[in-house]
Amino acid sequence: MERFTGKVWVLGDDIDTDIIIPTEYLALKTIEDMRQYAFSPLRPDLASQIRKGDMIVAGKNFGCGSSREQAPEVIKALGIRCIIAKSFARIFFRNSINNGLLLIEQPDLYDDMREGDEITVEVNHHITYGGSRYPIASLPENLMEILGAGGLVKAMAARNGLSIS
């Protein structure tokens, strides 16, 4: 069972895709060019503060709004290990899984969470924070397969007889 620990950034309810990456940056050439602008309407400094292995904890409806897949891609490019929220918007959820970014639904952690603290995640099992355990559900099998393949691109490449490192 996968297990990891990291520092947490706390965001609110209804973090929409325009906040995650505003439209004006969507036509930049690469995700690398875009990631510095992640969350800029809400917290312009956040992108530069996030370190590899950090996690985001948020309220309800994380990733609502547009279908822009740049949203999970910039978050992943910033080094975020996983996002734990009360709930996720649908398209964002699919896009994240397809990019190999782990999302976890957890109803209570957000209300207790203090930014800067560390948590430990045991995938498909529970989260530990401040001595408490927060249970989490298992992802459906087909999603675990995509995550297991390292995202949809790799899954498709394998189907086409290619292997991508």
């Binding site: 209804d14 929409d16 325009d18 906040i19 505003p22 439209t23 004006e24 969507l26 036509a27 930049l28 050439k29 800029s40 309407p41 809400l42 309800k60 409806n61 609502c64 709004g65 547009s66 279908s67 822009r68 897949e69 740049q70 999970p72 709930s87 996720f88 918007a89 649908r90 398209i91 699919r94 896009n95 397809n98 990019n99 459906p140 087909n142 995202g151 949809l152 691109v153 498709m156 490449a157 086409n160 007889g161 290619l162 991508i164």
Partner: protein, 415 residues
């Protein structure tokens, strides 16, 4: 047991008669829509995945709309990548300056009742206006569909929304859907389908239904559907088959929730900054001074919207120091609005009329605002920073309310 509309569409698609909500199934795709913002990413992923041909080029529609006309040098790269891809893989349905993707998909006849359609834009839910199952996906999944023609989906639960009676004067389908989003909340329909029914929607034009299906995503919905009827058949230029005539939710279908509205109780409303579900009656906001008004988008940039706005502005002028920007949803809408004189009325009132496209709604150009400015807009989102800085206040409203506000220079009820 009875089925919801969505269950029927998916059942037919996969050739099963027992599809039920919660099932994970793989559907065959009838049509896909690719837009200009996403096309370079789609092409990259398609190649990374190792595909060498498109499953069915005739089922693919490529539309340039977010970046038309170009406002930055890099925008042009998206056209170039799209043109090359279209040529290389034999795509023939390419629209380079004909309007907004969601308007074109139904208007140009790419979507028919009962189709399963995916697009790289969240407002792909719009095509439920003609009884199709359509929803937005990311570019990675789009690349996979281009190669395989398939996608896995989870059959959604459905919320049934019944609206009865006649809408009062100056109340449009926009007010209705805003009210519903306010009641459901921005995540109230996440993963779910909305099925609209009742005499109010039966009497609605396809355009008005489009407005509602378009905004379903703002309540988190996966899709929204209206049962096809004679209007649908006429709009799509088809005869409805027996199956299509029965494409509606069964009496004994299972709904996770049912909402019932009486149209006569509705009033003009606005979504206030910066949440689509923060709904207030226009009467409560009257007097709020505004800097700009935007009439357009795939939500409310159609002929009936422009005509409603023109009627409100006939013989009037846009208030001094206030800008009114009108962006018709498509080339056809522009031409029809020209032919019926609506464009002339709007231009005489002082409107800035742009070429059809996403315009201000997608926040790239088309009337971007600055700190401290306030805009009344007919589009679908008022997120923080959507039309400029995070200190721009966006109020979403119907075209008739927006036009009245433009003339007054402040938020007012239409009269």
């Amino acid at each position: 047991m009875g089925q919801t509309m969505i269950e029927k569409i998916i059942s037919r698609n996969i050739g099963s008669d027992s599809v039920k909500q919660g099932d994970i199934v793989t559907v065959s795709v009838d049509r896909v829509m690719l837009d200009d913002i996403m096309i370079p990413f789609i092409v990259d992923k398609f190649h990374e995945m190792g595909f060498s041909k498109i499953w069915d080029p005739n089922k693919v529609v490529l539309i340039y709309d977010h970046l038309v006309p170009s406002s930055q040098q890099d925008d042009v790269r998206h056209y170039q990548v799209g043109d090359r891809f279209a040529e290389e893989y034999g795509l023939t349905h390419v629209h380079r300056s004909d309007g907004i993707c969601h308007q074109l998909m139904t208007e140009a006849g790419y979507v028919k009742p009962g189709d399963v359609v995916f697009g790289t834009d969240s407002h792909t839910t719009t095509y439920g206006c003609v009884g199709a199952f359509s929803t937005g996906i990311g570019y990675t999944e789009m690349a996979a569909i281009l190669g395989t023609g398939e996608l896995w989906i989870r059959v959604p639960e459905t919320i049934k929304i019944v609206i009865q009676g006649e809408l009062p004067e100056h109340v449009m389908s926009k007010d209705l859907i805003l009210k519903i989003i306010g009641d459901l909340g921005a995540d109230g329909a996440t993963y779910k389908a909305l099925e609209f029914t009742g005499s109010t929607v039966e009497n609605m034009t396809i355009s008005s239904r489009m407005t509602m299906a378009n905004m379903a995503i703002e309540a988190g919905a996966k899709c929204a559907v209206f049962a096809p009827d004679e209007k649908t058949a006429h709009y799509c230029g088809v005869e409805l088959s027996e199956w299509e005539k029965n494409l509606k939710g069964d009496e004994d279908a299972v709904y996770c929730k049912t909402l019932i509205y009486q149209a006569k109780e509705l009033v003009p409303v606005m979504a206030c900054p910066s949440q689509v579900d923060k709904i207030r009656q226009v009467s409560q906001l009257e007097g709020t001074v505004i800097d700009q008004v935007f009439i357009g988008s795939c939500t409310n940039g159609r002929l009936e919207d422009l005509v409603a706005a023109a009627k409100m502005l006939e013989g009037k002028k846009v208030a001094p120091f206030v800008k009114l920007i009108v962006t018709p949803a498509s080339r056809k809408v522009y031409q029809e609005a020209d032919a019926c004189g609506a464009l002339k009325v709007l231009a005489q009132a002082g409107a800035v009329i742009t070429h059809p496209g996403c315009g201000l709604c997608c926040g790239r150009t088309g009337g971007i605002l600055c700190d401290g400015e306030r805009v009344v807009a007919t589009n679908n989102r008022n997120f923080l920073g959507r039309m400029g800085t995070s200190k721009v206040e966006i109020y979403l409203a119907s075209p008739v309310v927006a036009a009245a506000c433009a003339a007054a220079g402040k938020i007012v009820l239409p009269s």
